[in-house]
Symmetry: C2
Protein backbone atom coordinates (compact mmCIF):
# COMPACT_ATOMS: atom_id res chain seq x y z
CA UNK A 1 0.00 0.00 0.00
CA UNK A 2 3.03 2.26 -0.03
CA UNK A 3 2.27 2.76 -3.71
CA UNK A 4 -0.64 4.96 -2.83
CA UNK A 5 1.58 7.32 -0.92
CA UNK A 6 4.12 7.44 -3.75
CA UNK A 7 1.32 8.21 -6.16
CA UNK A 8 0.04 11.10 -4.10
CA UNK A 9 3.58 12.36 -3.64
CA UNK A 10 3.95 12.39 -7.41
CA UNK A 11 0.75 14.37 -7.78
CA UNK A 12 1.79 16.84 -5.08
CA UNK A 13 5.19 17.34 -6.70
CA UNK A 14 3.63 17.74 -10.15
CA UNK A 15 1.13 20.19 -8.71
CA UNK A 16 3.88 22.45 -7.45
CA UNK A 17 6.08 22.07 -10.52
CA UNK A 18 3.21 22.76 -12.90
CA UNK A 19 2.52 25.88 -10.89
CA UNK A 20 6.09 27.09 -10.67
CA UNK A 21 7.33 26.22 -14.16
CA UNK A 22 4.18 25.52 -16.14
CA UNK A 23 2.75 22.25 -17.43
CA UNK A 24 4.65 21.97 -20.70
CA UNK A 25 8.12 22.87 -19.46
CA UNK A 26 7.82 20.38 -16.61
CA UNK A 27 9.25 16.99 -17.61
CA UNK A 28 8.83 13.49 -16.20
CA UNK A 29 12.43 13.74 -15.09
CA UNK A 30 11.70 16.93 -13.12
CA UNK A 31 8.88 15.29 -11.21
CA UNK A 32 10.74 12.02 -10.64
CA UNK A 33 13.74 13.87 -9.30
CA UNK A 34 11.61 15.93 -6.93
CA UNK A 35 9.94 12.81 -5.52
CA UNK A 36 13.25 10.90 -5.54
CA UNK A 37 12.06 7.93 -7.52
CA UNK A 38 13.21 6.38 -10.78
CA UNK A 39 11.48 7.18 -14.02
CA UNK A 40 10.54 3.50 -14.30
CA UNK A 41 8.68 3.56 -11.02
CA UNK A 42 7.10 6.74 -12.25
CA UNK A 43 5.67 5.00 -15.28
CA UNK A 44 4.09 2.34 -13.08
CA UNK A 45 1.86 5.00 -11.53
CA UNK A 46 1.16 7.20 -14.56
CA UNK A 47 1.26 6.15 -18.17
CA UNK A 48 1.07 9.62 -19.70
CA UNK A 49 1.71 13.20 -18.75
CA UNK A 50 -1.92 14.03 -19.34
CA UNK A 51 -2.89 11.48 -16.70
CA UNK A 52 -0.82 13.38 -14.19
CA UNK A 53 -2.34 16.65 -15.30
CA UNK A 54 -5.84 15.34 -14.75
CA UNK A 55 -4.90 14.10 -11.31
CA UNK A 56 -3.30 17.44 -10.48
CA UNK A 57 -6.43 19.28 -11.54
CA UNK A 58 -8.56 16.97 -9.40
CA UNK A 59 -6.26 17.53 -6.46
CA UNK A 60 -6.45 21.28 -6.90
CA UNK A 61 -10.24 21.05 -7.04
CA UNK A 62 -10.33 18.96 -3.86
CA UNK A 63 -7.98 21.35 -2.08
CA UNK A 64 -10.12 24.33 -3.04
CA UNK A 65 -13.30 22.59 -2.04
CA UNK A 66 -12.04 21.88 1.47
CA UNK A 67 -10.80 25.46 1.69
CA UNK A 68 -14.18 26.84 0.67
CA UNK A 69 -15.91 24.50 3.11
CA UNK A 70 -13.65 25.73 5.89
CA UNK A 71 -14.46 29.35 5.10
CA UNK A 72 -18.12 28.50 5.17
CA UNK A 73 -17.75 27.01 8.62
CA UNK A 74 -15.39 29.56 10.09
CA UNK A 75 -17.19 32.69 8.93
CA UNK A 76 -20.75 33.50 9.93
CA UNK A 77 -21.72 36.05 7.26
CA UNK A 78 -21.45 35.96 3.47
CA UNK A 79 -19.57 39.22 3.54
CA UNK A 80 -16.85 37.75 5.77
CA UNK A 81 -16.69 34.66 3.60
CA UNK A 82 -16.19 36.70 0.46
CA UNK A 83 -13.56 38.70 2.30
CA UNK A 84 -11.68 35.44 2.88
CA UNK A 85 -11.59 34.96 -0.87
CA UNK A 86 -10.12 38.40 -1.37
CA UNK A 87 -7.54 37.65 1.29
CA UNK A 88 -6.05 34.89 -0.85
CA UNK A 89 -4.17 37.57 -2.74
CA UNK A 90 -2.53 38.84 0.42
CA UNK A 91 -1.82 35.42 1.90
CA UNK A 92 -0.31 33.93 -1.25
CA UNK A 93 1.30 37.11 -2.47
CA UNK A 94 4.83 35.69 -2.38
CA UNK A 95 3.89 32.89 -4.76
CA UNK A 96 1.66 35.04 -6.93
CA UNK A 97 4.47 37.51 -7.28
CA UNK A 98 6.66 34.83 -8.83
CA UNK A 99 4.24 32.47 -10.54
CA UNK A 100 0.85 34.15 -10.81
CA UNK A 101 -2.48 32.60 -9.91
CA UNK A 102 -2.33 28.78 -10.06
CA UNK A 103 -5.74 28.53 -11.69
CA UNK A 104 -5.52 31.47 -14.05
CA UNK A 105 -2.10 30.55 -15.39
CA UNK A 106 -3.02 26.89 -15.85
CA UNK A 107 -6.20 27.62 -17.80
CA UNK A 108 -4.30 30.12 -19.87
CA UNK A 109 -1.54 27.66 -20.72
CA UNK A 110 -3.95 24.85 -21.55
CA UNK A 111 -5.91 27.22 -23.79
CA UNK A 112 -2.77 27.97 -25.77
CA UNK A 113 -1.90 24.28 -25.99
CA UNK A 114 -5.47 23.59 -27.06
CA UNK A 115 -5.28 20.83 -24.47
CA UNK A 116 -8.18 18.42 -23.86
CA UNK A 117 -8.01 19.14 -20.12
CA UNK A 118 -8.66 22.84 -20.63
CA UNK A 119 -12.28 22.62 -19.61
CA UNK A 120 -11.39 20.64 -16.51
CA UNK A 121 -9.07 23.47 -15.54
CA UNK A 122 -11.82 25.99 -16.17
CA UNK A 123 -13.92 24.00 -13.73
CA UNK A 124 -11.53 25.20 -11.01
CA UNK A 125 -12.72 28.70 -11.78
CA UNK A 126 -16.30 27.49 -11.75
CA UNK A 127 -15.75 26.17 -8.25
CA UNK A 128 -15.02 29.67 -6.99
CA UNK A 129 -17.61 31.22 -9.25
CA UNK A 130 -20.43 29.08 -7.84
CA UNK A 131 -19.27 29.44 -4.27
CA UNK A 132 -19.02 33.22 -4.57
CA UNK A 133 -22.35 33.31 -6.35
CA UNK A 134 -24.00 31.51 -3.44
CA UNK A 135 -22.50 34.00 -1.02
CA UNK A 136 -23.58 37.01 -3.07
CA UNK A 137 -27.06 35.54 -3.38
CA UNK A 138 -27.45 36.22 0.32
CA UNK A 139 -26.62 39.89 -0.23
CA UNK A 140 -28.32 40.77 -3.50
CA UNK A 141 -31.10 39.44 -5.73
CA UNK A 142 -30.24 36.04 -7.12
CA UNK A 143 -30.06 37.30 -10.68
CA UNK A 144 -27.19 39.61 -9.78
CA UNK A 145 -25.24 37.15 -7.67
CA UNK A 146 -23.44 35.37 -10.49
CA UNK A 147 -22.55 38.64 -12.14
CA UNK A 148 -20.95 39.89 -8.96
CA UNK A 149 -19.12 36.59 -8.58
CA UNK A 150 -17.66 36.92 -12.06
CA UNK A 151 -16.82 40.54 -11.45
CA UNK A 152 -14.87 39.73 -8.31
CA UNK A 153 -13.21 36.75 -9.93
CA UNK A 154 -12.12 38.93 -12.83
CA UNK A 155 -10.82 41.65 -10.59
CA UNK A 156 -8.74 39.23 -8.53
CA UNK A 157 -7.35 37.72 -11.72
CA UNK A 158 -6.40 41.13 -13.01
CA UNK A 159 -4.74 42.01 -9.73
CA UNK A 160 -2.77 38.74 -9.76
CA UNK A 161 -1.65 39.23 -13.35
CA UNK A 162 -0.43 42.78 -12.86
CA UNK A 163 1.15 42.00 -9.50
CA UNK A 164 3.04 39.16 -11.15
CA UNK A 165 4.18 41.54 -13.87
CA UNK A 166 5.05 44.67 -11.89
CA UNK A 167 5.56 43.12 -8.44
CA UNK A 168 4.34 46.33 -6.87
CA UNK A 169 3.22 45.68 -3.29
CA UNK A 170 1.39 48.98 -3.04
CA UNK A 171 -0.68 48.16 -6.09
CA UNK A 172 -1.71 44.82 -4.64
CA UNK A 173 -2.65 46.42 -1.33
CA UNK A 174 -4.73 49.03 -3.11
CA UNK A 175 -6.56 46.42 -5.17
CA UNK A 176 -7.33 44.35 -2.08
CA UNK A 177 -8.60 47.43 -0.26
CA UNK A 178 -10.69 48.46 -3.27
CA UNK A 179 -12.26 45.02 -3.51
CA UNK A 180 -13.12 45.06 0.17
CA UNK A 181 -14.62 48.53 -0.10
CA UNK A 182 -16.63 47.34 -3.09
CA UNK A 183 -17.80 44.38 -1.05
CA UNK A 184 -18.75 46.58 1.89
CA UNK A 185 -20.76 48.77 -0.43
CA UNK A 186 -22.70 45.77 -1.69
CA UNK A 187 -23.48 44.35 1.72
CA UNK A 188 -24.37 47.80 3.06
CA UNK A 189 -26.94 48.26 0.31
CA UNK A 190 -28.47 44.90 1.10
CA UNK A 191 -31.83 46.23 2.26
CA UNK A 192 -31.60 49.80 1.02
CA UNK A 193 -32.21 51.04 -2.50
CA UNK A 194 -29.92 50.17 -5.41
CA UNK A 195 -26.55 51.80 -5.36
Amino acid sequence: MAGRRTRSEIVAAADELFYRMGFEPTSFADIAEKVNISRGNFYHHFKTKDEILNEVIQKRAADRRTMLDAWEQEESTPERRIARFIDILAINCDKIRLHGCPIGTLTGELAKLDHPAREEATALFTLFRNWLSRQFAQLVPHKEADRLAMELLARSQGAATLYNAFRDDDFLRREIAAMKAWLAGISAGRKSAHD
Copy 2:
Protein backbone atom coordinates in the same frame (compact mmCIF):
# COMPACT_ATOMS: atom_id res chain seq x y z
CA MET B 1 18.68 43.27 -49.04
CA ALA B 2 16.00 40.61 -49.28
CA GLY B 3 17.43 39.28 -46.06
CA ARG B 4 15.81 42.11 -44.18
CA ARG B 5 12.39 41.10 -45.39
CA THR B 6 12.98 37.46 -44.49
CA ARG B 7 14.10 38.53 -41.06
CA SER B 8 10.99 40.58 -40.44
CA GLU B 9 8.84 37.74 -41.77
CA ILE B 10 10.46 35.46 -39.24
CA VAL B 11 9.70 37.90 -36.45
CA ALA B 12 6.10 38.31 -37.60
CA ALA B 13 5.61 34.54 -37.76
CA ALA B 14 7.22 34.07 -34.34
CA ASP B 15 5.06 36.83 -32.95
CA GLU B 16 1.89 35.06 -33.95
CA LEU B 17 3.10 31.59 -32.97
CA PHE B 18 4.32 32.78 -29.56
CA TYR B 19 0.89 34.28 -29.07
CA ARG B 20 -1.10 31.29 -30.26
CA MET B 21 0.96 28.46 -28.76
CA GLY B 22 3.21 30.12 -26.24
CA PHE B 23 6.95 30.83 -26.36
CA GLU B 24 8.25 27.54 -25.02
CA PRO B 25 6.07 25.18 -27.05
CA THR B 26 6.96 27.02 -30.27
CA SER B 27 9.97 25.43 -31.97
CA PHE B 28 12.39 26.66 -34.61
CA ALA B 29 10.80 24.14 -36.95
CA ASP B 30 7.36 25.66 -36.37
CA ILE B 31 8.56 29.12 -37.27
CA ALA B 32 10.65 28.00 -40.24
CA GLU B 33 7.71 26.06 -41.64
CA LYS B 34 5.38 29.02 -41.30
CA VAL B 35 7.81 31.30 -43.15
CA ASN B 36 8.65 28.56 -45.65
CA ILE B 37 12.38 28.72 -45.23
CA SER B 38 14.92 26.09 -44.25
CA ARG B 39 16.15 25.85 -40.68
CA GLY B 40 19.63 26.63 -41.94
CA ASN B 41 18.54 29.93 -43.38
CA PHE B 42 16.77 30.50 -40.13
CA TYR B 43 19.98 30.20 -38.19
CA HIS B 44 21.61 32.79 -40.41
CA HIS B 45 19.19 35.40 -39.09
CA PHE B 46 18.87 34.31 -35.47
CA LYS B 47 21.41 32.37 -33.47
CA THR B 48 19.18 31.60 -30.49
CA LYS B 49 15.52 31.40 -29.60
CA ASP B 50 15.98 34.16 -27.07
CA GLU B 51 17.17 36.47 -29.84
CA ILE B 52 13.89 35.94 -31.64
CA LEU B 53 11.97 36.52 -28.42
CA ASN B 54 13.68 39.84 -27.88
CA GLU B 55 12.92 40.89 -31.43
CA VAL B 56 9.29 39.82 -31.05
CA ILE B 57 8.97 41.86 -27.88
CA GLN B 58 10.46 44.89 -29.62
CA LYS B 59 8.07 44.44 -32.53
CA ARG B 60 5.14 44.21 -30.17
CA ALA B 61 6.29 47.37 -28.44
CA ALA B 62 6.62 49.20 -31.76
CA ASP B 63 3.19 48.00 -32.90
CA ARG B 64 1.60 49.20 -29.69
CA ARG B 65 3.38 52.51 -29.82
CA THR B 66 2.08 53.26 -33.29
CA MET B 67 -1.40 52.18 -32.19
CA LEU B 68 -1.31 54.48 -29.18
CA ASP B 69 -0.02 57.32 -31.34
CA ALA B 70 -2.88 56.77 -33.76
CA TRP B 71 -5.42 56.90 -30.95
CA GLU B 72 -3.88 60.10 -29.74
CA GLN B 73 -4.28 61.64 -33.18
CA GLU B 74 -7.70 60.26 -34.00
CA GLU B 75 -9.41 61.07 -30.72
CA SER B 76 -9.72 64.57 -29.37
CA THR B 77 -10.43 63.92 -25.68
CA PRO B 78 -8.68 61.75 -23.11
CA GLU B 79 -11.96 60.01 -22.37
CA ARG B 80 -12.37 58.91 -25.97
CA ARG B 81 -8.76 57.80 -26.09
CA ILE B 82 -9.16 55.67 -23.01
CA ALA B 83 -12.34 54.26 -24.51
CA ARG B 84 -10.27 53.10 -27.47
CA PHE B 85 -8.14 51.12 -25.07
CA ILE B 86 -11.20 49.44 -23.60
CA ASP B 87 -12.41 48.64 -27.10
CA ILE B 88 -9.41 46.39 -27.67
CA LEU B 89 -11.27 43.70 -25.80
CA ALA B 90 -14.20 43.86 -28.18
CA ILE B 91 -12.13 44.18 -31.34
CA ASN B 92 -9.77 41.33 -30.53
CA CYS B 93 -12.30 39.16 -28.76
CA ASP B 94 -11.95 36.26 -31.19
CA LYS B 95 -8.25 35.97 -30.50
CA ILE B 96 -8.56 36.65 -26.78
CA ARG B 97 -11.19 33.96 -26.55
CA LEU B 98 -8.69 31.40 -27.84
CA HIS B 99 -5.31 32.68 -26.71
CA GLY B 100 -5.81 35.37 -24.07
CA CYS B 101 -4.11 38.74 -23.98
CA PRO B 102 -0.81 38.72 -25.93
CA ILE B 103 0.95 40.80 -23.30
CA GLY B 104 -0.53 39.25 -20.19
CA THR B 105 0.07 35.68 -21.29
CA LEU B 106 3.64 36.40 -22.42
CA THR B 107 4.67 38.06 -19.18
CA GLY B 108 3.03 35.24 -17.26
CA GLU B 109 4.87 32.56 -19.20
CA LEU B 110 8.22 34.31 -18.95
CA ALA B 111 7.70 34.72 -15.21
CA LYS B 112 7.23 30.97 -14.84
CA LEU B 113 10.27 30.28 -17.00
CA ASP B 114 12.22 32.80 -14.94
CA HIS B 115 13.33 34.09 -18.32
CA PRO B 116 15.82 36.98 -18.67
CA ALA B 117 13.42 38.76 -21.05
CA ARG B 118 10.65 38.90 -18.46
CA GLU B 119 11.23 42.53 -17.63
CA GLU B 120 11.27 43.45 -21.30
CA ALA B 121 7.85 41.86 -21.61
CA THR B 122 6.65 43.77 -18.58
CA ALA B 123 7.71 46.93 -20.39
CA LEU B 124 4.87 46.24 -22.83
CA PHE B 125 2.52 46.70 -19.92
CA THR B 126 4.38 49.83 -18.92
CA LEU B 127 3.76 51.23 -22.37
CA PHE B 128 0.01 51.11 -21.82
CA ARG B 129 0.35 52.08 -18.18
CA ASN B 130 2.18 55.30 -18.99
CA TRP B 131 -0.05 56.16 -21.92
CA LEU B 132 -3.21 55.61 -19.88
CA SER B 133 -1.68 57.53 -17.01
CA ARG B 134 -1.09 60.52 -19.27
CA GLN B 135 -4.69 60.40 -20.41
CA PHE B 136 -6.05 60.12 -16.89
CA ALA B 137 -3.84 63.00 -15.81
CA GLN B 138 -6.04 65.22 -17.95
CA LEU B 139 -9.11 64.07 -16.04
CA VAL B 140 -7.96 63.77 -12.43
CA PRO B 141 -5.15 65.07 -10.22
CA HIS B 142 -1.79 63.75 -11.38
CA LYS B 143 -1.31 61.72 -8.23
CA GLU B 144 -4.35 59.62 -9.03
CA ALA B 145 -3.67 59.16 -12.71
CA ASP B 146 -1.26 56.25 -12.43
CA ARG B 147 -3.51 54.47 -9.97
CA LEU B 148 -6.43 54.71 -12.36
CA ALA B 149 -4.22 53.49 -15.19
CA MET B 150 -3.23 50.44 -13.17
CA GLU B 151 -6.81 49.86 -12.14
CA LEU B 152 -8.03 49.85 -15.73
CA LEU B 153 -5.12 47.73 -16.88
CA ALA B 154 -5.91 45.22 -14.16
CA ARG B 155 -9.57 45.14 -14.97
CA SER B 156 -8.96 44.53 -18.65
CA GLN B 157 -6.51 41.77 -17.79
CA GLY B 158 -9.04 40.13 -15.53
CA ALA B 159 -11.71 40.37 -18.21
CA ALA B 160 -9.37 38.83 -20.79
CA THR B 161 -8.38 35.99 -18.47
CA LEU B 162 -11.94 35.03 -17.55
CA TYR B 163 -13.19 35.46 -21.09
CA ASN B 164 -10.47 33.12 -22.26
CA ALA B 165 -11.51 30.64 -19.58
CA PHE B 166 -15.31 30.79 -19.80
CA ARG B 167 -15.70 32.18 -23.31
CA ASP B 168 -18.88 33.91 -22.22
CA ASP B 169 -19.70 36.73 -24.62
CA ASP B 170 -22.22 38.29 -22.24
CA PHE B 171 -19.60 38.51 -19.52
CA LEU B 172 -17.17 40.30 -21.81
CA ARG B 173 -19.85 42.74 -22.94
CA ARG B 174 -20.76 43.49 -19.33
CA GLU B 175 -17.16 44.09 -18.37
CA ILE B 176 -16.62 46.43 -21.29
CA ALA B 177 -19.80 48.33 -20.43
CA ALA B 178 -18.79 48.51 -16.78
CA MET B 179 -15.37 49.89 -17.65
CA LYS B 180 -16.91 52.52 -19.89
CA ALA B 181 -19.40 53.50 -17.20
CA TRP B 182 -16.53 53.72 -14.74
CA LEU B 183 -14.66 55.91 -17.20
CA ALA B 184 -17.68 58.13 -17.75
CA GLY B 185 -18.01 58.58 -13.99
CA ILE B 186 -14.42 59.69 -13.76
CA SER B 187 -14.57 62.19 -16.59
CA ALA B 188 -17.93 63.50 -15.37
CA GLY B 189 -16.47 64.25 -11.94
CA ARG B 190 -13.55 66.06 -13.54
CA LYS B 191 -14.35 69.43 -12.09
CA SER B 192 -16.90 68.50 -9.44
CA ALA B 193 -16.26 66.99 -5.99
CA HIS B 194 -14.64 63.60 -5.48
CA ASP B 195 -16.70 60.52 -6.26
